[in-house]
Amino acid sequence: MIDIDKELDDLALDQNEDLDKAIEKIIDRRMRRVAIKVVAVTLLIIALIFLGLSPLMSLVFTNPASANKGSHSLLTKTWQAYFESNYPYMECYSIEVKKDGFGCYTIYPTMIDHRGDIELVLGSKDPEIKMTRGKLSIVKDTGNYTATLSGRFYGYNGTRAWTGSEKAAEIKSIRQLPASAWVYVSVSGKKTSDIAELKKIDKDKLHIQWAQVYLPKCDYMPGINLYENAINDNETPREDMTAKQLKAQYISNIKVMRENTRLWKGLGLLGGYHYVDNDQIKPTLDKAIKAAEKSDTLKTRNYCIGGTRDEIADYLEKTDIYCAHIDKVDLAHL
């Protein structure tokens, strides 16, 4: 008789619990080592991405930080030209650039608003402009330094000419301001005047601040600061510049913009009634340079003035204008 069950029981294989526990420990340690290696390699890869990719992106995309080196950097020079040409009263004094990594930068220009008492706040974080892989975007601008007023002058954005009574009413309302008030006005003149001639109105309590240069057949007509420009040592103050110097300065500004469009084009270029397309910026600037070079002297129809209540009212009264826009009233000028 075969006792198969007993014979089968004898075939049971030996198992060693102690050895099993030992291998369990070995595997735990190995897994821990593998996990540590994986974490270390992952961290290394992340570090390489940060250390390697970020500088690479800075090389590939426009780098405003490298353009902002030196006392009067290319970035500052370009933005000074851009703001002077496009924003009446506004001046870019200096620029601070913060590197955010991966081709991203935060740009803090120190802006001067020439309306009223000049307050130059160095290190101010307003406006705050981001450049993300070559593209500019305005993050913060509580002072409205980069805002464009499109209906400032006659003919733009439907701004119509004043009737005689409207003009009288506006002047009357200016005269009702306190005598100490300082008024800033954008004037749309009927006649084209030489800027050098127009500068002659400058006196103690009336100044011409900015003028849009009249360029026939150009949609885009940049302007020029004429009063209290804070920029650059060894430079003739704008109010003392001759007609020739003003023209040279004007053309130089447009050329600086033309050569460095990558540094500002995201802020936009308002030509006539619409923003100029990116691919049309250079041809538009070329056209303006050519027109400016052709003219003997700089001429204007649209300009900005600032002065006391009486001086401004008197000036508007005796000047043949389409209309004027009151940009700002300071109740006192210290």
Binding site: I4, D5, D10, L11, L19, A22, I26
Partner: protein, 169 residues
């Protein structure tokens, strides 16, 4: 514990379990060389994936079964394809290198000649001494079904033993 010590311990473990693993592997492959390859692969895989929910040998058997099925798929073989061509003596010869008892080696050779369904249950039940619940759960069988398979396997083994005894009478 240093890596050197770890490696020494793994070597010791390999030596300790080598014969047991070869017995199981030969039961699957019916070929000593293939069994050796299988044991090496299985030990390497099991020693990095061991989950302490049973003995290390139990885990190795689980890995070995998966490896064996992968081998069958790769070679496009059916599980019981070579059973007819096997002879007990050659299996006995192979297994006697790892079981140093003539009678036991012969019984192990008989187990290795069972159809795979019966063989797997006998490996779990006889070699690894797993209880019915564990085997039934692992193989997706009911307990009644498992008992039936094991009972038939026993019968087959008895018949084989009787036939073998008759040959020597």
């Amino acid at each position: 514990m240093g890596r050197k010590l770890e490696n020494e311990m793994l070597e010791q473990l390999y030596r300790s379990y080598y014969d047991s693993l070869m017995i199981i592997a030969c039961s699957y492959t019916h070929n000593e060389e293939s069994a050796k390859d299988l044991v090496q692969t299985v030990f390497l895989k099991a020693s990095v994936s061991y989950e302490p929910r049973g003995s290390f040998l139990f885990w190795c058997n689980k890995v070995m079964r998966n490896e064996f099925y992968t081998l069958l798929r790769r070679n496009k073989m059916r599980a019981d394809e070579d059973l007819d061509s096997l002879d007990l003596r050659s299996q006995d010869d192979v297994l006697s290198s790892y079981i140093h008892n003539e009678e036991r080696a012969r019984l192990a050779a008989m187990i290795s000649m069972l159809p795979l369904k019966y063989r797997e249950v006998m490996i779990d039940s006889v070699y690894l001494q797993m209880d019915d619940d564990e085997i039934a759960e692992m193989r997706g069988l009911t307990r009644a079904n498992l008992r039936q398979i094991r009972s038939r396997a026993r019968k087959m083994l008895i018949e084989m033993k009787e036939a073998e005894d008759d040959r020597y009478r």
